[in-house]
Amino acid sequence: YKRVHRPKDKETTSEEPKPWIRTIYSTQKEIVTPTVIAGVTFSAKPLATPDPLEPWVSLNKDGSPKTIKPEIKNGRTRKARPDYSTYFQTLGIVTMKYDEVQAHNMDPNDVYEEEIFIDEDKTYVSLNPIGRCTPAGYFNKGLSKDISSEPFCTPRENVLWKVDKTYFVSWYTHFFRDENSDKVIDRVRVHLSYVREKADEKGFHKR
């Protein structure tokens, strides 16, 4: 007979994150209400002094969240929040005349065109603590693993989703573009559908 082992009490809080006020677009004030989903606090109030080693949330293969704590090792930051490169930027072309550029090797009648990347509006994106899905996070699916999972990063194919647990479905937002205007689609809808499976395709996972 062995007595039931009682582990040490974990520090928990039932305190709900309180709303806070922020100023957006220079003048507009907004009340932000934080929400907690699957242990992840969305729209949380940022720290007064930004911490470069502030933990961020990544997603496991099945879409469950996990907290990543950046660390400095040998003078370099490891496990830092991912850099999105130009995935969420829009390509723009700036045209400049000779008067503006005044380059010595430019013909005065020519027009100089420069490609620039325009950052997206980060007003609401910045409130999301979870690392965003980019094409770099795509995986291969299918029997021969030769089909790209676009636009999904999570969940990976054939992962297990257990009842009563919360998983995040994540996709690359710029994948959905309007054919005519090439603008990113504003709204999407997520569907879960049954798949008819043959007897030999049925999984027999541990019960």
């Binding site: 039931v4 995040f168 479905v169 709204r187 809808r189 997520v190 559908s193 798949v195």
Partner: protein, 162 residues
Amino acid sequence: DIKGTFFSSEWLKNVDGMLPVTVDEKWLQGYYERKIIVSVQPENVPDDEFNPLLNGVMVNMLLGSKVAKTTKEEWARQDAGIYDREWYYVALSIPTVVVIAIVAIYFFLQLNGKNRDFSDVTRSALAKKHRVLGPISKMKKFKNMKNHKYSELPISNKSSKQ
């Protein structure tokens, strides 16, 4: 409206790029495990043109294993001041009863030692085990058997010369 679809979210802001999904037991429809496909429908694709299989990800939805441990229930009972000591009483009572019984039997046998006589029982039991068979002619099986009596075989007289 989409065939085979059992859950459709509201229209979401695409800029969020994610949706938390909590798996509901009802979705399994009584099965232990079901294969589902997760798909995203953009606003510019109408329902009748949307095919979830086109850009969907296959996922196995399952009920999950149930842990048979009663640890948490036991903690709750302990917190309420109820301690499960039945095992303790059983563990103590069984050897105690046995010891008392042995002591009682010992004294009972000591007190009744003089009044006890099993000799007839013992004798008859031993007699059954060690009975004398007797001669074969008296045995039931061989009683009526006609057996010739032993008679000596003729022996030729031997002379001293031989």
